[in-house]
Symmetry: C2
Subunit: 376 residues, 2 copies
Amino acid sequence: LLSKQPAKGTKLPVYGGEVGPVWAYPDYQLDCVVADPKKGSKMYGLKSYIEYQVTPTTTNKPVNHRYKHFDWLYERLLDKFGSAIPIPCLPDKQVTGRFEEEFIKMRMERLQGWMSRMCRHPVISSSEVFQLFISYKDEKDWKTGKRKAEKDETVGVMIFSTIEPEGLPDLDLIEVEQKCEQFNRFTRAMDDGVKDLLTVGNEHWKRCTGPLPKEYQRIGKAFQNLSSVFTSSGYEGEAALTDALTAAGKTYEDIAQMVAEQPKKDLHFLMETNNEYKGLLGCFPDTIGVHKAAIEKVKEADKLVATSKITPSEKTTMSKRASTMSYALQAEMNHFHSNRIYDYNRVMQQYLEQQVKFYEMIAEKLRHAHSQFTTM
Amino acid sequence: LLSKQPAKGTKLPVYGGEVGPVWAYPDYQLDCVVADPKKGSKMYGLKSYIEYQVTPTTTNKPVNHRYKHFDWLYERLLDKFGSAIPIPCLPDKQVTGRFEEEFIKMRMERLQGWMSRMCRHPVISSSEVFQLFISYKDEKDWKTGKRKAEKDETVGVMIFSTIEPEGLPDLDLIEVEQKCEQFNRFTRAMDDGVKDLLTVGNEHWKRCTGPLPKEYQRIGKAFQNLSSVFTSSGYEGEAALTDALTAAGKTYEDIAQMVAEQPKKDLHFLMETNNEYKGLLGCFPDTIGVHKAAIEKVKEADKLVATSKITPSEKTTMSKRASTMSYALQAEMNHFHSNRIYDYNRVMQQYLEQQVKFYEMIAEKLRHAHSQFTTM
């Protein structure tokens, strides 16, 4: 808390917004499209890898990155901003099956989610290292930028020294502590809620892709089986019923397939969003830990002043820095909340929309099956 | 096969219809309404029982019957017609819980099904004993009729001697045997098909009333839980999302209940119909057994003529009677087939109609839940 301010570097202002302290948001919302995974190779084909095309909506000029570049960016962001801003983990590293289409598609989708989230963060997206990653000019530019980023000394808790609350009064320690406790409680509760939803979602996924379609298939088969028994009756005027019964059976087989394929169309996105949030929420205990440690330090400051280990003016500086840290945490929480509301609103809409379509399609199929029967 | 013809009694004609040999069908289709179960008592309240009101559509005059009266009728019909016509069992006797509402309702529904089936049968519905049951004038009439019916001597295989094929040529033994084999194969195959559908239906019922609604409930709870965590955020502008999320959660709880209640609305009737057919099909092996025995007897006739145990003219009579039996079986099978087509057509329509409504209602509920979210 008494470390020197870095000589230069970008200042990170915190403003008083409508919802409380907020980061400085850019006028234009950056986003990136991660697409077009291509197999590349190095060392005369000895080493092969997958390269993704990353296209920022600002320049519309694509750059290529391997997973390990994303990982490099993640490490830089974690070093530089991790004390103040939760940096969500990248999608898992995987050794086997790296070149399988399904895996590449899934990883790309998750890298896209991660990049979009980073783009949406005003502090991260405007940072030099992030800008380098999405818009380096050529290989030389990238190499130079990489070296520079790796030498960046504003890492760890240093980040707080670059944060500048603009026109906001210093907070007293009680308020700092209360805010910290509030965020701690909320993120823990949300972590539980998200994990619960993931558990329920996973079970639902298993049922939808396992026993449920099997059951609809068996119903379908039972109808068709009965229909073919009826066909063997030798009784005249049987065809109208048996045709309709066969069609009904096939309809339930179709429904079985629809049920099995549905989770990919709706539950998948709900699960992905919640998985992202689970990752994000997993970063908060560290961020909050940094704050709690700072609060404890300020609490000890009185003693240190009494034993002349620090001067009263140094104590004031410590208290002021704790206030700055709290503004940073509040700005981050407000950023988190607004994104959360946006994300959950969107994913729930998408989920319910697909669910409606799903049930409507089943009803439509059954209505058609129903119409095949003769009204007597 | 050589027993004497009964001196008098109703003759049962078999005609050549469009689909083959058929019973004589009445112009007016009889039906009965079984309703209004009432608790009655006897011996100064020492014995209590449930009495059902049976109202034939012909007279529209209700008569009262206890389960044991139905059972008496069943025994009479079985004695009299059982060799030629499969008489389906009554719904199970039950000792405990006889007076519980649910049980009474279920028994009434099944007695209704049984009565309707008996009414639809031209031979049974026009029989003296059946007419007595549905339209006795008073207690004395009932008692007298009962005694008379119990003394009826035209029972067992005697019924065949009352059957008269009208304008139909005698069938040779090969044809008789082929028909019998065909019906045997069909009823066995249908028995398997019906049992298969019942097994599948039972499992589906269990899933729909057990794990499936529990899962929807858990999904609903998870949404509502997340919503209440969100409410605790302290962030402004949270209400739109949390209200919608709570509503979505409640919708899934509603769906859980709908899922659990649905089988009673559709699967129930499909199961009841198949249970009825399972019962009916269970009677065929006996009916077919009687025919097979007769066929064997005719086959032995040549030997008996050779050893002078019967005369050639007696052999001709035996052969003629086997032909009559085959006509009776064919008429019965044609009756069975036409009823089966009617029943399955109706129950499948009903099932699918309710299924359509069910899925439409879910879609509608989800559409409403979807509309609660803000489009950003």
